[in-house]
């Protein structure tokens, strides 16, 4: 990930079928609205895939962080297929494995542990946006 100053596009999967999909969405909001509002842009995955010009341009110009709720990795896969560069792909499941105590529950309404997991994920990504490494997975 390049040092601060460059905009990073954040693309969560927001999968509706699993609690991890809700975690991916809330993590993206934490990252873009609270932790790094000046250096991140949230892009809706469906808009990108369906060819919306602004979404496509953003992904073409800026490195992307994808946040996927499951190992199907839809966001990472489709950002690449749309011509984007995935600087970091995050699987919520992998973050959960490092923080077993934060077991998320609920899809429409995340429990407190789920919200905390989202925040932890967002903080990990935010830290990596400070130039601590290149393209990575986590």
């Amino acid at each position: 990930m390049k040092p601060g100053g460059e905009t990073v596009v954040v693309v969560p999967c927001s999968g509706i079928g699993k609690t991890f999909g809700s975690v991916s969405r809330e993590a993206a909001y934490d990252l873009c609205e609270v932790l790094r509002p000046g250096s991140t842009r949230l892009v809706a995955l469906a808009k990108l895939v369906l060819g919306e010009p602004v979404a496509r341009e953003l992904v073409a110009k800026h490195p992307a962080v994808t946040i996927d709720g499951c190992k199907q990795m839809c966001a990472a896969k489709m950002v690449r297929e749309s011509g984007g560069t995935v600087a970091r792909e995050v699987a919520v499941l992998d973050v959960f494995r490092r923080h077993k105590d934060l077991k998320p529950e609920g899809i429409a309404e995340l429990n407190e542990a789920g919200r905390q997991l989202a925040r932890v994920l967002a903080e990990e990504v935010a830290e990596s946006l400070e130039g601590k490494g290149g393209a990575s997975r986590g």
Partner: protein, 232 residues
């Protein structure tokens, strides 16, 4: 292959993260699934669907679908049409809510009563559309009847298609032989008076524009006649 007549309605929500309306769409779809119409609906995961997941796409092809979009970009509708065919109903949150959407939030962390009310309003609308699709009785009467199919080889064969000529154009209606089987099994005789019933049943699974209705009615009536006269 799923038994045609034990069907549910698929709800495809856009979940667009950039707008509060996308969050409302997502939550309203989940409210319908979990609370309002749990036995009649299935949600289709749009990311999986767009990424090519076979189960999601096949379900959308074989079942009536309602798309719920946050805004006029209509990602859920366009995506569903692109990969699975025309949708049975398309709802747009920004149209349903109007100015009420201004009080809504993207993130659950900020959600308040305005968000809750907005979700209810949209969810009720979705439920109304679900009810309209089930009104003809073509969906399962017994909501406890499982939609499990029989064992079959995993050849991945698609639903049987029916090909018609409507207004001089070749048209494919997915699942048409199964629809005909259902109608025949339920005693519908071809001929006078059956055309409307055939049309209304097909309409649940295959969108028909008003200007095409007369052409479809005739083509379907003829096709149903031929179907009922087939040799065993």
């Amino acid at each position: 292959m799923a038994d045609l007549m034990e069907r549910k309605v698929g709800i495809v929500s856009c979940s667009g993260e950039e707008l509060a309306e996308g969050t409302v769409a997502r939550l309203a779809a989940l409210k319908v699934l979990n609370e309002l119409r749990p036995r009649d609906t299935v949600t289709i995961c749009l990311p999986l669907f767009l990424a090519g997941e076979v189960g999601e796409r096949r379900f959308a092809q074989e079942h009536p679908t309602i798309t719920v979009d946050g805004c006029s970009k209509l990602c859920a509708k366009r995506g569903t049409e692109q990969y699975s065919g025309r949708v049975s109903a398309s709802l747009v949150v920004s149209d349903i809510l109007g100015d009420r959407a201004k009080g809504c939030h993207r993130s659950a962390r900020d959600a308040d009563q305005a968000d809750e009310q907005a979700v209810w309003i949209v969810a009720e609308r979705i439920a109304t559309e679900v009810d309209a699709l089930t009104a003809s009785g073509a969906l399962a009467e017994s909501s406890t009847a499982p939609s499990a199919g029989k064992a079959c080889c995993a050849c991945g064969s698609p639903s049987p298609e029916g090909k018609l000529e409507v207004g001089g154009k070749a048209v494919t209606v997915n699942g048409l032989p199964l629809i005909f089987e259902y109608l025949e099994r339920n005693g519908l005789q071809p001929g006078n008076g059956s055309a409307d019933r055939v049309l209304e049943t097909v309409r649940i699974y295959h969108a028909i524009e008003p200007e095409e209705e007369a052409g479809y009615r005739q083509a379907l009536a003829d096709a149903y006649q031929r179907f009922c006269q087939r040799q065993p």
